[in-house]
């Protein structure tokens, strides 16, 4: 593992993605400590352009947009991480069980996975969000995680199935090790890099899903996320007012975060899939 980490840090794409992501995280962790203001506080008139005291101007409520953006990035990244952990964990568990146990359990799990691949997850996301009246950002993150695991499950199953009959697994079986131990020591290490990559993609798609659902007006309540900033900007017609600072920075922030995550993913792909290594 330490060896692959060292190779990874030599990949410019992975490094770029990692550094940008870490910078983003540093910004949202440290800026609120410097500026202890409340992002919900109204400080100025509506749609003031960027200037002294308001680095990114104000929104329709006259709130400090830069502060909102920082909190928005924080919420969006948190939602993405929780959704990513949730989706990867479910996908991994189902994929491993399905691929390793085989037989009837495999058939049932595969059928369920395929069903949820075919039924669009965004639709389930909408239906659940409509049914829940008080949504916190944690609830939204969990719903996103619960609806986005099938792809991971399918891929993990495929890899586990191909690993199941390898020599080292059979030796472990003959030695009388338990199923849990075999999965942990003989299977997981071989798919670890793939799982990390899947997790990175799940985080990115979680951030996008939150933004989409918030734009539709089904986002979390009483909090600020990037999607919610965009939603306000649309509802209060910031574009028509010419207030580019009310939506372009938020849109750009989403793009930068997801782009850096994709770059990390591509960098890992080039290293762990020697076929496309240039």
């Amino acid at each position: 593992m330490s060896q692959s980490t060292r190779i990874l840090l030599k990949s410019p794409k992975f490094l770029f993605g990692l550094i940008v992501t870490l910078l983003m995280i540093a910004l949202v962790v440290f800026y609120p400590l410097i500026n202890r203001g409340d992002p919900f506080e109204m400080k100025a008139l509506a749609f003031q352009p960027p200037g002294a005291g308001l680095p990114l101007g104000s929104d329709n409520f006259g709130r400090d947009l830069f502060l909102e953006l920082v909190y928005g990035i924080r919420t969006s990244v948190m939602v993405g991480l929780v959704a990513g952990v949730c989706a990867t964990a479910i996908g991994l568990a189902i994929g491993l069980a399905s691929g390793y146990i085989g037989g009837l359990a495999d058939n049932i799990l595969t059928a369920v996975t395929n069903m949820f691949i075919v039924i669009p997850s965004f639709i389930i996301l909408i239906l659940i969000s409509v049914s829940i009246n008080s949504r916190s950002s944690l609830i939204v993150a969990l719903i996103i995680g619960l609806t986005s695991w099938p792809w991971t499950a399918r891929a993990v199953r495929a890899q586990t199935t191909s690993l199941r009959n390898r020599d080292h697994v059979n030796i472990a079986k003959i030695s009388g090790h338990g199923t849990a131990r075999i999965i942990a020591f003989e299977i997981l290490p071989y798919i670890a890099s793939y799982v990390v990559m899947a997790f990175i993609l799940q985080v990115a798609s979680g951030i996008l899903a939150e933004a989409s659902i918030s734009m539709l007006g089904l986002g979390p309540y009483n909090t600020i996320s990037l999607g919610i900033i965009m939603n306000w900007a649309l509802i209060f017609e910031a574009p028509v007012a010419g207030a580019w600072w009310a939506f372009i920075p938020a849109a750009f922030a989403i793009a930068v975060i997801t782009f850096s995550l994709y770059m990390m993913n591509t960098g890992m792909d080039e290293i762990f899939n020697p076929k496309i290594r240039s």
Binding site: I123, L127, V130, G217, V240, A255, T258, K275, I276, S278
Partner: protein, 336 residues
């Protein structure tokens, strides 16, 4: 019963079960709203209504729509029976319009926006991706990160940026609606021109992202193929490069064609947010309105329509691939 018939029957059965699950989710989830859904929704819907007749109508409507006095499975049966007759209920927000009528008026707008965008994006993206893989070098170094960045920009981000730059700052194109609202739809040059002008910005914001996504996929597939053993072997045999390239791109195209079929399947639900940004009169804008008005029949009509088109597209692909894809054919033979 030959192998293909068996495959066909199996797939059909599986998709019917999936459809049933999708319908069940669509039926059950909105009914899970805490407390008594009927009074909860009806009181929200009737807020601000003063006309007691229409309030009563809303309540009666809910009673009939939800049939809350009956057990759930009976309600589900009624729901299915209504579906079979094409009855998706009545909209609350636009009472007494039928949900099915609203959807029917919205679908042509969504398809008219998405279909050309998907096709153009697919063709251009594939060409760019193939060239990037084949040429590598500078073209690849510049184009690939650019495509990746465009692709990681969410649809709606690009839509909002285009709306601001081309619509508001430069005033080149109108920024909302499907046509000039002062016009009455008719078949005249001025009306068609208005439709095309309103179509431009949402179209561009979908097409650019589609090009990026396609280019990345095609580049990856082509790289895998270019590194395949048969390419090296052909080169050793002295087969001309142009000919090898033909084989490579033919093989790389296969998954891309599946991708095209799938994106045509997700067409109806694929541009929801983009439509909202431009208030384009398609499914997305109706769904947005329905969510803001808590118009449950219309929300579930939209979600049902989107889910069903995706299912239908997937089913069609599997049935056709069962005939044309030799790998699936082999699997069918093995099972017998």
């Amino acid at each position: 019963m030959n192998a293909y018939t068996k495959y066909f029957v199996k797939k059909t059965a599986w998709y019917l079960v999936t459809l049933l699950i999708a319908l069940l989710l669509n039926f059950l989830l909105p009914r899970l709203i805490e407390g008594n859904p009927v009074s909860a929704i009806a009181s929200q819907v009737t807020q601000g209504m003063t006309d007691s007749d229409s309030i009563k109508k809303v309540y009666e409507n809910f009673m009939r729509e939800f049939g809350v006095d009956k057990p759930l499975y009976v309600q589900f049966g009624i729901y299915l029976r209504h579906l079979f007759t094409g009855d998706l209920g009545t909209s609350f927000g636009l009472y007494p319009r039928k949900v099915s009528d609203i959807l029917a008026s919205a679908v042509p707008w969504t398809v008219g926006l998405q279909l050309p965008a998907i096709l153009v994006g697919w063709i251009l993206g594939n060409v760019l991706g193939a060239v990037a893989a084949y040429r590598r070098g500078v073209f690849d170094k510049v184009l690939f990160p650019a495509a990746l960045f465009v692709n990681s920009i969410p649809f709606f981000t690009l839509a909002i940026i285009l709306l601001y730059l081309l619509g508001i700052t430069l005033k080149w194109f109108p920024i909302s609606g499907g046509y000039d609202f002062q016009m009455v739809p008719h078949f005249g040059l001025d009306f068609i021109g208005s439709v095309i002008r309103h179509h431009t910005l949402p179209f561009l914001s979908i097409v650019l992202v589609a090009i990026g996504g396609q280019a990345i996929g095609m580049r990856e597939m082509s790289l895998y193929e270019l590194n395949a053993d048969y390419v090296l072997y052909s080169k050793l045999l002295g087969i001309r490069d142009s000919r090898v390239a033909r084989y490579v791109f033919k093989n790389a195209m296969l998954p891309q064609i599946t991708g095209l079929a799938l994106s045509i399947g997700t067409m109806v639900g694929g541009s929801l947010i983009c439509e909202i940004v431009f208030s384009y009169p398609g499914i997305g804008t109706w769904l947005f309105t329905a969510i803001r008005q808590l118009d449950y029949p219309l929300i579930s009509g939209c979600t049902l329509l989107i889910a069903m088109t995706v299912l239908l597209a997937n089913f069609t692909i599997e049935i056709i691939y069962g005939i044309v894809d030799p790998r699936i054919k082999a699997a069918q033979m093995e099972e017998n």
